[in-house]
Amino acid sequence: MNQFFLQQGLSKELELFPHIVEIALKKNNAIRLDSLHATSTNSLRIYYVIDGKFEWILHDQQYILYPGDIAIILPGQKFGSGKGFLDIGTVAWINIKIEKLESGGNMIPGKWSGLSKNESQTIGKILMMNCSMLHIKLKEAGAIIETIKAELLNQHIGFTARVNQLIDELFILITRRLTQQNNSRRDFPQTFLQLEQTLRQRLYYQWTVDEMAALVGLGSTAFSEKVKNFTGFSPLNYLINIRISEAIKLLKRHETSVTDIALETGFYSSQHFSTTFRKLTGFTPSEFRKNNLAKKEI
């Protein structure tokens, strides 16, 4: 592979792709001091190691990356070398401007992307949840960056569509690899327990089955079937279980208002909370609380 360097504003190849900030491949044959200090940018950067061994600071932690590894640096995260220079070796990278990526995981890549709204959300969530562990082995990334470059230079029919598809594909591969490396793919009870803990930490959030499935690294259908087999409930019903049991604890503590409890435990509204709660327990949340209060006075 030959070296190249395309940059938004300077390279006319990128004129049709305002979201690509930079795409490059660099063979570094000698150490140049002060060539790579830790910086942060507002774009999402993906570095792929082709050969050599790179000691990088990712998100304030030192890591060593080997050929086939990629590092993903989210907007605002720091990236660079602790020693201030780029190690000897070959590295390719692409910087992409993301329209929106909030800390909660709400992500809008931009009009160029073919990902659906749900898919982007799920990808954003998984990136944010792994934000301190974003370096993985992903050999496919090298070929994708290389193909993007070829498409940009050759400008064959359909190249705008292909370039954007390839960037989407890169995101999809990263997300899938992240969720799969987090799970052994052997121990469902353990994986499910991790999922449950994630859900409990953000119970206020309206989780979708797709998001839960992605966290476990399974497709939605396989996920729903596994959960039903293992827990006896569909994923959403299992989630309602957790929501109501947390709500019961808060109701018994008499500190939070019923409306706040509804929102904290992830119901759309106090109405939704009240109906769901009553269906299962026979009490409305307020009755349930009063009942416990009455007992208190005895």
Partner: protein, 506 residues
């Protein structure tokens, strides 16, 4: 048709069954809940989550399977895992999670009590081995390590006590579950003063004691409404999973033993007398007054085979452990009985009966250059079952066993059942249905007058032996077992040393 519902609050899940009045299961449903390990020795569960899961499962069972068939529910009978402890405050609100049977935080307290002069007296009076599993030890741990909680706690409940209190409004514990707390005198059937002293509580801190047939009262109005059950449905407090599994397996006469292997395992016998063991190796739990279920528990049952499959099994599809286990068993079948001299000590989780050594660790022994992967698979399964046999063998120092009844997901795998028959050299039958649920049904049926007593009820589930022992295999196993047995005690010092090093590292 009239039916009885049984609710089993198990280790990982609640299971609800409906039986017709002749004891045939007509419907079932389950819902699982997690166990949290906030520290390595801790095992806790969320009592509200278990309550809600139980309600949800019961409601779904009624709506989807009972009402459409126009069945009429007569009674609901409960069973639960043993040894759980839940502290509640003066308003009855849980103070944190329920501590489950597998929690080991009380290791120091257990060792201290075991070393003291009152150990033997307390064990003899209560029938529960002095071990971190015992609620006696757990409450003592809270007293020593969480003084605030100990002071504020108005009661220490079992999980089942809490669930039934939520449904009916009152705190009860049956003699049977209470006999596994280490706090009940199994002869007087009252709380044992010495044990209460050690735990630092008085009887008022514990639920009221009642027989297993007792009805704690009607369902609260709200639950009658939400579940759609009439006020007349009788709630029966029931017993523990261990005792009901024994009843439900039809083991109710001398000369019979029951073997249960799920994740953990146990060998149990039934008798009118307490089994007095000098070395304090066995539990003696009560089902009803003067009816004792005695035996020994192992930590290392099917959970060890699970571990093996996860590490070394093949996974064609993500998380498909069932398929992976099937392949392993097929491979193990091809190896000769005795794994050509490869032995496995299964003590990955420390061990309870018969060696009662929390420091015990796993070990493959006898490895030679001709052993391959398949030998490891078979040796692993045989090791788990040698351990079961070693419990059975110590029991036979006290009682003779003529035949076995086997249940639980691991023990009822045909390959395992045959090995058990061969090791024990006894005929055995594998129970068909869930024996805990069936045991709870039998209790309800006695309460309703369908059977006159436990003996008559248990006789209805006796099945013909369907596995016969092979004498030749028995003698092969027996020779290897001698080495297994001697290793399990001989390595005492090494177990302690390696466990100390492992703890340091962690």
């Amino acid at each position: 048709m009239e039916c009885v519902i049984t609710i089993e609050l198990g280790t990982n899940a609640v299971r609800a069954f409906a039986f017709d009045l002749t004891g045939n299961p007509i419907a079932s449903m389950k819902g699982s809940y997690p166990t949290f390990h906030v520290e390595p020795d801790y095992s806790e569960q969320d009592p509200e989550q278990i309550f809600i899961t139980m309600l949800y499962v019961l409601k779904n069972l009624l709506n989807e399977k009972i009402r459409p068939q126009k069945h009429k529910v007569i009674s609901i009978c409960f069973s639960a895992s043993m040894h759980s402890v839940l502290a509640v405050d003066k308003n009855g609100v849980p103070m944190g999670n329920v501590i489950t049977w597998s929690d080991n935080r009380g290791k120091k307290e257990a060792a201290a009590l075991n070393a003291s002069s009152s150990a033997k007296k307390i064990y003899t009076a209560t029938g529960t081995p002095i071990h971190p599993m015992s609620p006696l030890i757990k409450i003592a741990w809270i007293k020593n390590n969480d003084k605030e909680k100990f002071k504020k706690a108005s009661k220490f409940l079992s999980l089942k006590t809490y669930i039934i209190q939520q449904l009916t409004g009152r705190y009860f514990i049956d003699y049977s579950l209470a006999s596994a707390t280490g706090l009940l005198n199994i002869k007087t059937v009252n709380w044992e003063p010495d044990a209460l002293d050690y735990a630092g509580i008085d009887a008022a801190k514990l639920p009221e004691l009642v027989p297993v047939f007792h009805s704690p009262g009607k369902l609260l109005k709200a639950y009658q409404t939400s579940l759609g059950l009439p006020a007349g449905v009788k709630i029966i407090i029931g017993s523990s999973d261990g005792c009901l599994a024994t009843l439900g397996a039809g083991v109710w006469e001398e000369g019979k033993a029951t073997i249960t292997i799920e994740d953990s395992g146990a060998v149990r016998i039934v008798g009118k007398k307490v089994l007095q063991d000098e070395k304090q190796r066995f539990f003696n739990y009560l089902l009803t007054k003067n009816c004792y279920i005695s035996g020994g528990p192992t930590n290392n049952g099917g959970v060890i085979f699970d571990w093996f499959a996860k590490q070394f099994g093949e996974f064609k599809n993500a998380f498909d452990i069932e398929h992976s286990m099937e392949l392993l068993i097929n491979e193990a079948c091809k190896v000769d009985v005795g794994s050509e001299g490869l032995l496995f000590l299964p003590y990955l989780l420390g061990e309870r009966a018969p060696i009662w050594n929390a420091n015990a660790r796993g070990c493959y022994f006898g490895l030679n250059i001709n052993h391959n992967r398949s030998h490891f698979i078979r040796a692993t399964i045989e090791g788990i079952l040698y351990e079961i046999y070693s419990i059975g063998k110590t029991l036979q120092e006290h009682r003779s066993i003529k035949s076995l009844s086997v249940n639980g997901s691991f023990a009822s795998i045909p390959f395992c059942a045959q090995i058990i028959a061969d090791m024990f050299n006894k005929p055995l039958y594998v129970s068909k249905s869930d024996s805990i649920g069936l045991g709870a049904f039998l209790l309800s049926a006695i309460e309703m007058g369908i059977y006159k007593d436990l003996d008559e009820a248990a006789q209805t589930v006796v099945l013909p032996d369907n596995y016969k022992p092979d004498r030749q295999n028995h003698s092969v196993y027996n020779n290897y077992f001698k080495i297994f047995e001697s290793l399990s005690v001989k390595l005492f010092d090494e177990f302690e040393n390696i466990s100390n090093l492992q703890h340091k590292k962690g």
